[in-house]
Subunit: 503 residues, 2 copies
Amino acid sequence: MDTPSQKLLARMQELRDLGGAIGLCTWDQETYMPEGASEGRAAILGTLESLSHERLVAPEVGDWLEASLQDARLTPDQRRMSELLKEDRDRAVKLPSSLVREIAVEQSAAISAWRQARAEKDFQLFAPKLQRLLELRRAQADAWGHGGERYDALLERFERGMRVQRLTPVLEALKAQLVPLVRALAGREPLQGRPELLGGSRTYADGAQWQLTLDVLAAMGFDFRAGRQDRSIHPFTGGSHPQDVRLTTRLEASTPVPSFFGALHEGGHGLFEQGFAEGDFRTPLAASPSMGLHESQSLLWENQVGRGQAFWRHWFPRFQAAFPEALAGVSEASFHAEVNRVQPSFIRVEADEVTYNLHVVLRYELELLLLRDALPLSELPGAWDARMQQYLGITPPDPVKGVLQDIHWAWGEFGYFPTYTLGNLYAASLYAAAQRALPTLEQDIASGNLLGLRDYLRKNIHAPGYRLPAEERVRAVTGEGLTDRDFVAYLRGKYGALYGVSL
Amino acid sequence: MDTPSQKLLARMQELRDLGGAIGLCTWDQETYMPEGASEGRAAILGTLESLSHERLVAPEVGDWLEASLQDARLTPDQRRMSELLKEDRDRAVKLPSSLVREIAVEQSAAISAWRQARAEKDFQLFAPKLQRLLELRRAQADAWGHGGERYDALLERFERGMRVQRLTPVLEALKAQLVPLVRALAGREPLQGRPELLGGSRTYADGAQWQLTLDVLAAMGFDFRAGRQDRSIHPFTGGSHPQDVRLTTRLEASTPVPSFFGALHEGGHGLFEQGFAEGDFRTPLAASPSMGLHESQSLLWENQVGRGQAFWRHWFPRFQAAFPEALAGVSEASFHAEVNRVQPSFIRVEADEVTYNLHVVLRYELELLLLRDALPLSELPGAWDARMQQYLGITPPDPVKGVLQDIHWAWGEFGYFPTYTLGNLYAASLYAAAQRALPTLEQDIASGNLLGLRDYLRKNIHAPGYRLPAEERVRAVTGEGLTDRDFVAYLRGKYGALYGVSL
């Protein structure tokens, strides 16, 4: 007979396989699925998700977990897997299925209202639905339980162990340093700037853009035997298994930035997914301990590597060869300056590295107030605009460029935004640690060799998977947990040089 | 509370959704999956299949079925759905899971041995594995139950209701007519033949071939909003839902026949899948009642339509425009003659319409002997070669061109081959019925209009789905069940004209 631990392992594998099927169905939905198939696909995904839920909360799983966790002979990995599954299961069990269904129904309604509100540039068309979702998320937080701060319960889904009490002072300190940095750079030109290069009338051929994305993914060590890249409207990383990792990108004719930096970004996620230890496949250990740590890998490759000076030493000649007309007579320094241009702007997903985290802090502060019921929705657009003015010195002309821009709240997702900034902070700290550990890192990057960095990250971040919580994992690598020090130092050094100012 | 029938419906939908996920995972495996992902994919498919089995045989389903089938208020459709599910479930329940596992294990071993035997052209390397699979299939047939003929129990999986007693005389009579037909044509040239056109040194550009497959699928009324075509090594029709039907094709540089007739063939399957009634989606009614009837749809489009004279009236000018060099100075009649060339040959999947069914009859006769334990495996290659000589007048030079050519037996699939001939016979009868019902059919086809035929098949075959067994469905349309009359008359008329002989 199988032991409880063996039965648990089989169930973990089954849950992972269901997750893999969901991953493939979702990837297909965004890449190759015919448009008329959306209803059928929604039914399939609904069935897979509800089966997955049912197999997780099944009473026998509770029994196996209890028996397993009392077993003194468990290896540390076995214990960790059981604990992780138990945490997932406890949360799932606590959530009444009526609440799950109601959230799903209200999400659909809210998405429709959000689209309508955007079309008419009128936040009030969306407000009642957002109100309802907020009430449901508060109920969800209460069902999961918390120590008085509902936001903590929502954060827990994305950043296990993170708390408002830990996060707020970090984001406050970051904001206090970023606002003056933005002021110092806003309105200035980079020393080597040539604004006509990107996003203007120059054209960058599709085929050459596509080839460069494949080239840079190969250079990063992304394994095309265990993954692939396709096109989609909104780039993402998905797939069904660590040996089946699917990246997507999108091409714009007037600039190779979305495709190329998109490939670096999704490739960073993809390396995490491909980097889990083979013995951990189909178990809870083959996972990132947090969304923030996952995002740190995409951002590290996109920004610390891809927007760095050394990187373009190798890649700019390749860009010039790929786009001989658009980049004729352009210097490496100008191209590097343009992919790092700082410009306060309304839309988060288009923001540069310096302003980006202020968009996040703004959302975090507002979400916290909303979850605490300390900000009436009627005042939300005003609160948004006031903070935009305060942090970035600009005021959105309409709510589509302001409070209505993200889909997250229309999905009723609160607590996700901070993971982007956690990703930025972890990325900077991990990159600084890599520089200390790999003395030739910048020369290697300048000569096109990215594999040393890939191996460093694989060993220190990817292969350990979910053995430690995110912050402990970072501490084990860098000697320090969550900090803004490395990120702010990185910005000051880089943008001081690019803009010729002392920051 | 839900009634038993409502609970049953929900379970039927769930099973269909699981089948849809399996369909997508399988399609992806043959089209876009990276090569390193096969182990992970096998695990996912295994989990989905075993969950599907578990949800079908679950005791509550038996209770719901019993209660539902006693309910006098059931509509005929509800009753039919319950009966169909009950038949599937009864068969699944009867099969010991140890036998299912053993078959899976022996299939893998047999596939390996079959590849090895092919590499060394030595049937004896495969024989012991085939022996084991035969024993297991006999055990499976006994577990399912039968009236003394084990083959009936295996046939039942593909052709519910079909029996050896019904099938044998039909195939005997067919054989008796085909053997002289083949003799009369073998070694002759079609009147307008030009053998250098196809499969020789002329080249047919990839892009033009691909476009023609899309054009003909569109002309057939295949809905690209509810399906798509991709490339794969072995063409097939799959997908996840009637609004998500995936066709594949393959391109050969020296002949457009595999791609174009492949598209007609898979498109015929695809129209069946897209043609189910919307109210039947995600129920057992949205299915073909048999593999033979499904095959009748692919063969009708490939052969009765696509290899017909009228068809090339419209399509040959398009082929000439697409392949101006390869088809320069070629007449429509010559092209039509070449896509209908008759030539006894060793390999079933490359056989023409006249010889094809003799390949099938040969396999059927041998399978029947093997299942009855009336032919020692040591004598199988000899029995194969003797029949080839008797039916087609040729003897395979080695077992790879003979008894080792198909993967079916290596998979342990017995009872599948006859569905190909059932498809041929049904196709001819259904096409003859369509000609009677649509007096302008040949003119329509000659002018490129295929939608009248599509609509006729949709109304009479596709939309009714699984409401009637296959032969009853055919009888409802043609006035007669399974018969070789229409097929043989079709061959005599067509090939008599093409070869200028009286058949």
